[in-house]
C-alpha cells in the first residue's frame, strides 16, 4: 500500500509507485528561496553553470532574514536579491512581507499533491497543505533551479497519531514540544512524518503549519498532514487554485509495518523546553518561578495570526510585569493587518508589547534586538540551540504563545491555565 509521501513522490518521478529506500529523480513543482540562502548564494553557481532558472513560474522568492535593512551589508544583500529577481524575470517575489513559510501558503502557492523544495530547514511547513516539501542547502537549490529536478531517497513514513481533544490554552506548539521530548530530535530519522488522528484534523490550518514546521525539529525530511475541507477552504481564501484531484491525496492509514507513535491530546499540559534543545520539554509547571528577561512572540512557527490571537486572549486587560519586556514580530504583513483590524494588536500593545518587523529577527539571531550576554528569553519560536538567538551565554526557553504571554504577565514562567487563579 502507498503512503501519501510515496504517492506524491511517485507522481513527481513519473512512476506508478515507489518503494522506501529507492533513489529517484523527481520533478519539482515549486522552489522557494529566501534572501539568506537564496539569490546571493545560487547566483554564482547558476552563472558558473551558465543557466537561468528552469521555470520562473515555479520559483518563489521571499525576503525575510536580512529584514529590515540596517547596514551596508544587509542593503547589499537586498539589492542583489531584487536585481536577481528582475534578471530572472520572476513574478513571485514577496519583498519584506513576512516569513517565507507563512507568506508562500498565504499567497496560495501550496496545494495537495505538490512536490516542493525550499531553501530553509523549516520547509516541511508545506506539509500542512498535503504537499511534500523539504529543505535543501544553496548548492542543491542551485541544482534544482538549473534543472527543475532533485534526487531523493524514498523515505519510510513515520506516523504520529494524536487522539483526543486538547484542553483550553494547549496548542500545536505544546503537541510538538511533547513530541520532541518523546521521540527526540533525531526521531524523524530524515524520513517522512505524517501526522494523523482527530486532534490533528481539529487544528486550524495555521496550527497545522506549526506541526509540520517542527517536523524539522524531529529531524524528519517532511511533516505531512493529509488535506481535508479546511485545507481546501484555506487555499481558496488565499486565491489559490485547488487541484481537482485533491481527494486522491486524502491518504492517512498507516501501512501495516509502519512505526506509529501514539499521543493523547486530552492529557497534554502546556509545555516549556529548557535550553538548549526543543527535546528538553517538560510540563510548564515544572518551570514555575523561573525568571526571564524577554518574552518573544515571533517566527514562522510562533507569530502567525493564530499565535497573536492566542497571546492577546491571555493579555486582554492585563499588563506585563515590569521585570520583562515583550517583543512581538508578526510572521507576515497579512497576519499583522488582520490582527490590527480586529483589535488583536491593540490588546498586545496595551499590555506593553513592543512590535518588531515582519521578519525572522531574533529567531535567527539577526538584527539589533538579538539577545545579549546572559539574557534569558521565553520564546514562541521553534528552536533554542545555544547562541542561535544571540550571544553564546543567552538562554532560550520555548513555549506556546499562551504560555509566553501568561508568563510575561507574572514575570515568571507559568502554566497559562494558572493565570486566572493567580491573577484574577
Amino acid at each position: 500500500m502507498n503512503t501519501l509521501a510515496q504517492k506524491i513522490i511517485a507522481n513527481a518521478c513519473n512512476k506508478v509507485s515507489v518503494e522506501p529506500g529507492e533513489i529517484v529523480v523527481c520533478k519539482v513543482d515549486l522552489a522557494m528561496i529566501h534572501d539568506s540562502g537564496g539569490p546571493r548564494r545560487v547566483k554564482p553557481i547558476l552563472e558558473k553553470l551558465n543557466r537561468k532558472v528552469w521555470d520562473k513560474e515555479k520559483v518563489v522568492v521571499v525576503t525575510d532574514h536580512y529584514v529590515p535593512i540596517e547596514s551596508e551589508e544587509t542593503r547589499a544583500i537586498q539589492e542583489l536579491t531584487q536585481k536577481w529577481v528582475l534578471d530572472q524575470d520572476i513574478n513571485n517575489f514577496y519583498d519584506q512581507q513576512g516569513i517565507c513559510h507563512v507568506v508562500v501558503p498565504e499567497k496560495g502557492h501550496l496545494k495537495p499533491g505538490m512536490f516542493c523544495v525550499g531553501g530553509d530547514s523549516h520547509s516541511p511547513t508545506g506539509g500542512a497543505f498535503g504537499a511534500y516539501m523539504f529543505g535543501v542547502g544553496a548548492t542543491e537549490m542551485a541544482g534544482v533551479l538549473a534543472t527543475g529536478e532533485i534526487w531523493l531517497k524514498v523515505p519510510e513514513t513515520i506516523f504520529i497519531r494524536w487522539k483526543g481533544k486538547l484542553d483550553n490554552l494547549v496548542t500545536a506548539k505544546d503537541m510538538m514540544l511533547a513530541t520532541c521530548r518523546q521521540i527526540g530530535m533525531g526521531g524523524g530519522q530524515y524520513q517522512a512524518i505524517q501526522y494523523i488522528g482527530e486532534a490533528i484534523y481539529n487544528l486550524s490550518i495555521q496550527e497545522r503549519m506549526t506541526m509540520s514546521n517542527m517536523a524539522a525539529e524531529l529531524g524528519a525530511q517532511t511533516g505531512l498532514i493529509a488535506p481535508d475541507k479546511k485545507t481546501v477552504d484555506y487555499i481558496e481564501r488565499s486565491d489559490g487554485q485547488v487541484p481537482k484531484n485533491w481527494m486522491e491525496f486524502c491518504i492517512d492509514t498507516p501501512t501495516s509495518n509502519a512505526t506509529v507513535f501514539e499521543f493523547d491530546a486530552s492529557s497534554l499540559s502546556p509545555q516549556i523546553a529548557a535550553p538548549h534543545s526543543p527535546e528538553n520539554a517538560e510540563n510548564a509547571e515544572e518551570f514555575s518561578n523561573t525568571v526571564f528577561d524577554i518574552a518573544y512572540i515571533g517566527a514562522c512557527t510562533g507569530a502567525k495570526y493564530v499565535d497573536l490571537a492566542a497571546a492577546a486572549s491571555v493579555l486582554k486587560g492585563r499588563r506585563i510585569a515590569s521585570s520583562v519586556s515583550l517583543k512581538v514580530a508578526p510572521a507576515s504583513l497579512q497576519d499583522e493587518k488582520k490582527a490590527l483590524n480586529d483589535g488583536t494588536l491593540k490588546i498586545l500593545q496595551d499590555a506593553g508589547a513592543e512590535f518588531l518587523p515582519n521578519s525572522c529577527g531574533i529567531c535567527a539571531g539577526y538584527g539589533k534586538d538579538r539577545l545579549t550576554e546572559g539574557q534569558v528569553c521565553l520564546s514562541s519560536t521553534a528552536r533554542n540551540f545555544q547562541g542561535r538567538m544571540g550571544a553564546p551565554s543567552s538562554r532560550v526557553y520555548l513555549a506556546s504563545p499562551y504560555t509566553v504571554a501568561a508568563s510575561a504577565v507574572v514575570g515568571k514562567m507559568i502554566d497559562p491555565r494558572e493565570l486566572d487563579i493567580l491573577n484574577g
Binding site: 530547514s121 529543505g135 538579538r370 540551540f385
Partner: protein, 164 residues
C-alpha cells in the same frame, strides 16, 4: 596524516556556522566554526583532519555553510553515528565525504581525540597510526560516490551540461 577531532555531543548548525557571522565571507565565518563548544578548533584544524561525531551530526538549519566551513578548513571526512538529513545532503553536494559509523562493531577505543589518522576515500577505511588499526566503513551508493568524486553537485552538473 591528519588529526582526529572527536566530539561526544551533538553538533548543530548554529555552532558550526554561527548566525551572527553568516553575513561574512566563508574565510571569516570559518574562524568562528565550533567556537561555542571547542574554541581552539578553527585555529588548529589542518588539511586532512577527520571529524568523528556522535548522533545527529549537523542538526539544525539548512545553512550549507555548516558543511562548507568544515570543507574550507580542510576537513577530509566526517564520520558520525548518525547525520541530520539536510547536513548530509549538503556535505555530499559540496563534495565533502560523510560516512555513518556502523553500530557494530563499535569503534576501537584507541581512536581518541587528537590521535593521528588518515582517511582513504577509495577503500573507505579510517587508519589509525599508533597503534596501527583500521576501520572499514560502508561504501556510499554509486550515485552519491560519483557526486563526491566529481567534486560536488556543481562540478557534476557542469560535466553533465557539457556532455549534452
Amino acid at each position: 596524516m591528519g588529526r582526529l577531532w572527536l566530539f561526544e555531543e551533538t553538533i548543530n548548525t548554529d555552532v558550526l556556522a554561527p548566525g551572527f557571522y553568516m553575513k561574512s565571507p566563508i574565510d571569516e565565518l570559518s574562524k568562528h566554526c565550533l567556537e561555542a563548544i571547542r574554541p581552539e578548533f578553527a585555529s588548529n584544524v589542518r588539511k586532512g583532519d577527520v571529524i568523528l561525531a556522535g548522533e545527529n551530526m549537523g542538526v539544525g538549519s539548512s545553512r550549507e555553510q555548516a558543511a562548507e566551513v568544515l570543507k574550507f578548513l580542510g576537513v577530509s571526512c566526517i564520520i558520525a553515528k548518525s547525520f541530520a538529513g539536510i547536513f548530509y545532503r549538503n556535505a555530499i553536494n559540496l563534495g565533502l565525504p560523510v560516512f555513518t559509523l556502523p553500530s557494530e562493531p563499535s569503534l576501537p577505543k584507541q581512536f581518541v581525540d587528537g590521535s593521528f589518522v588518515n582517511f582513504d576515500f577509495d577503500s573507505t577505511t579510517l587508519n589509525l597510526e599508533q597503534p596501527s588499526l583500521q576501520v572499514k566503513l560502508d561504501p556510499l551508493p554509486k550515485f552519491l560516490r560519483e557526486l563526491i568524486t566529481d567534486g560536488g553537485l556543481v562540478s557534476h552538473l557542469e560535466k553533465r551540461f557539457s556532455e549534452k
